[in-house]
Structure formats: C-alpha cells, structure tokens
Symmetry: C2
Subunit: 238 residues, 2 copies
DNA sequence: ATAGTATTGGAACGTCGTTCCAGTCCTGTC
DNA sequence: GACAGGACTGGAACGACGTTCCAATACTAT
C-alpha cells in the first residue's frame, strides 16, 4: 500500500554503521587503541572520512558502539543455567577473557554508566546476586563492589596491554615488572618487594577469580549476618 | 676543592620541572584532562613549548609526575597510627577524596604499575593487611582485590567527572542517570531498574566504603578459615 | 528520462604533541 | 672585563589527528 520500500540494499559492499563498527573492532584488536584513526578506518574500508561521518556521529560514538557490541556478545555467551554463584563467576571470567582478547574494551568501559555495555554488566551481576539470596538492602552495595572490582581489573589489563609490545607475552612482561619491584628500597617498600616473587609466577586470571571469591565471601557474611533468607536456598536460579 | 658550584638558581621566575608539574596540576584541576595542552601550559607559564620540553620528556611523563605528586601527598597525610583495619579504611577514603578533588588522577592511575603512585598504594594497603594478620598465602590476592577495587571506583569517578559539566553537582548528575535507569525496559533490566531509586539517593563515598568493608569481610573469612592467628590480635600496628 | 534524495570521497581547517633552532642568559677562566 | 661554552628560552614549523564541507555520484520514485 504505502510507498515505504523500506531501504532496499544498495550494493553489496555498501557502507553501513554495522560494517564501520566491525572494521573499527578489527583495527582496535590488531593495532590497539592508538591505531584507530578515522583515516586508517577510511583506508580499511576503501572510502573517505566524509562517508564515515555520514553514518557515525563522531569517534566517541564509534568506540562506544564497538564496546557495546563486544560486551553484548560476551553476555549472551555466558548465559548458562548454573547456580547463581557459579553464574557470577562465569560472567566475571567471561568479561576477563573478553578484555584479554580486546584490551581496548577495558578502557572504554569507563564511559557513560548508562551505556548498554555497562547496563548489561550491572544487570547480569545484580540479577545473580538477587538469585543468590542477598538481602535487598545489601544488593546495591554488593553489586557495586563486584562491578567496580571487575572494572578495576579490566582497566589495569587494558593499561598493561597498552604499555608492552603486542608480541611480548604476559610472562615476560610480569618478569620485567617483578624485577623492578625486586629492585626497590626494602625500607620503603617491604610489602611490594615481598610480593615480587609471587608477581612473577602468578596467574592473572586465577588471581582475578580469587578476588571475585573474596568479595562473594564478604557478601556472604552480610547475608548470614542479618538476613532472614536461609543460606543458598534462593528459589530463583537464572 | 672541585669546581662543582652545584646549580646556583637563575632568577626567581626560572622554569623548573617542579614549577611545570605544579602548573600542570593547576590546569588539570580547573579544566580537566582535556584542558592540559602544551600550548595552554606554555601560556600559563608565560613561555614557549620548547622551554617545557627541555625540562620534561613528553606529556606522558608530565601526567605521570603530576599523578605521583598528588598520590604521594595523600599517602603522607593519611599515615595515622590507628589499628590496621581503620588504617586501610583511612587510606582508601584518602584516595577517594583525592580523586574527588583531582578526577584526572583516577584515569592516570591506570598507567605503568611500577610508577611511584601505584607502588605507594600497593605498599600502603598491603602493609596494613600484613599488620591485620592476613596469612602470607592470602596477602597477594587480598591486596590485589582491594587495590583493583579502589582503582575501579577511581576510574569510574574520573569518567563521571569527565562527562558532566564541572559546575553541575553530583546529586543532579545522579538524578539524571537514575532517570535513565528508570526508563529502561523492565523485562530486560529488572535489577538495574530496581536500583534506580537507590542510585538517586545514595552516597558515593559511603558506598565506596561499604565496598571496602565487604572485601575486608571476605578477607576475614580467609583468615579465620585456615590461619593460626587469633582474630584481631596481630602484634604490629602501623 | 528526469527530478530529487541518499551517499560518497577527498580537500581543507583548526588543534594537538613534538622537534628544531637561532638566540639569550649565565658561569668559569684568563 | 672580555670571552668561550654550556644551560636555557621562545616561537616557528612539521606531521598527524578529528572534524567539516562540498562537488560529484548512485540510487529511487515518478
């Protein structure tokens, strides 16, 4: 009836917001945050900068869209039907691994807190906390603690990826930082020096998970301390 | 004896690394991270860019030096002789307040982990954890969890300061974000929507401290779980 | 076929970090 | 008190960036 032919595709290689975001993710993954320039993106897509700006407002929106896309992909993958506690660990590990592959995401997560990426993380963690039986009064603080911890690790991993060459592996990087820690003044930095050895041999991923468990244990003390729910007996399990 | 007159001062308004870093902090505090350009800095100091680059390698070093300076100031202020647990809370709150005043520090902390700023934070938190009686095997993971949580909050606060105009107060900002959360699809974001009200009325600082307490509580379960130390009876108190 | 809109590619603008360099200041030596 | 030489300064200039502008082209509806 009406005349709305509803966007017939132009030609197969036509530019689109999706294609631009996908190309941006490719560049970010292979060259890091510094490699994503509008010129590089235009070259990658064999077009000009004007064409890109017709589909995307500015570089910030591009980075935000790329981040949302990566996070949304992670969150849909870790859906799982396990117990709440395991689900929280799975979500956290999924985020850790995603940022390991796309370090730039760790930086971008610190953007506007109402962006889809951030909302999905809060919802995913918070929803599982409810399922765990955390009393209502403690839910906000508990979710905040978990999410901020995850953000902190994410940002740190992104920074680490930024500072060392993309080809050097993690163990070589840790060894060099550990050596710097070990060379510190023992009078000024006794604790850091003691940790140097453990730093060299430690596993980032396992330590991240240990932090999650530590926070969950802390949340557990709140729950058993003053709540009326029986431990581990929440009816819902997402 | 020797001819080393050891740097007699030039004239009172002479440029120096310290004066440049101090000017950079002023600009960062008043105008945010985007306001610090080499040209603005040169104008502020009534000189040219070449003169600045004679004292400072590049902008990165300048930001790192400014961050180290602010953090060192905080750490010396919160020294305190209280009990370890209170000392950790004091250090954390000191960092929170410093980043509240200098939001750009929250971004810069995610730099090289061997910079003085980061080392001082790790040492300060870790040393107090030892004093608390945390068993050696758990010290590294515990310090890591606390520091990463602090970093996460710092980064988030820095991002918030970046996004809203410097004159709008925190409560107005929270209200606007809470409104966005409240307008979300209840089917997709049930938890976030429930938290919208609490977000509007919550106190960032108190919630930050609640997170610290949660992690400390988690660390406490490790200590009492497998260690031989009696609770709260560590002999040393920094 | 033609008019009108959607989309494109690339030139051009202003700003940034950084480098370069001619000049100036200051100090130590005679 | 002249002067050589290093310390230090100020600003012009360079290349790269994000963004805007616009003539040219591709496509759609009539």
């Amino acid at each position: 009836m009406a005349k709305k032919t509803h966007r017939i595709e132009r030609r197969t290689d036509a530019l689109s917001r999706e294609r631009i975001v996908a190309a941006a993710i490719e560049i970010l993954d292979s060259g890091g945050e510094g490699a994503l320039t509008v010129r590089a993106l235009a070259a990658h897509l064999a077009t000009g900068s004007g064409a890109i700006y017709w589909h995307v407002a500015d570089k910030g929106e591009l980075l935000a869209a790329a981040t949302d896309e990566v996070i949304a992909r992670v969150m849909s993958e870790v859906a799982g039907g396990t117990k709440p506690r395991e689900a929280i660990r799975a979500v956290a590990l999924g985020l850790f691994d995603a940022i390991d592959v796309h370090p730039w995401v760790g930086t971008q997560l610190f953007r506007e807190p109402w962006r889809p990426a951030m909302l999905e993380i809060i919802e995913s963690v918070g929803g599982r906390l409810q399922a765990l039986g955390v009393p209502h009064a403690a839910q906000f603080d508990s979710a905040s603690a978990l999410v901020h911890y995850i953000l902190g690790v994410a940002g740190q991993n992104a920074a680490n990826a930024r500072v060392h060459a993309p080809d050097t592996d993690r163990s070589a990087f840790l060894t060099s930082v550990a050596a710097q820690w070990d060379a510190l003044d023992p009078a000024k930095y006794p604790f850091v020096r003691q940790m140097a050895t453990q730093l060299r041999d430690h596993d980032d991923r396992a330590q991240f998970l240990a932090g999650i468990d530590l926070i969950l244990a802390g949340i557990g003390t709140v729950r058993s301390g003053g709540a009326d729910e029986p431990p581990d007996a929440a009816p819902i399990s997402i």
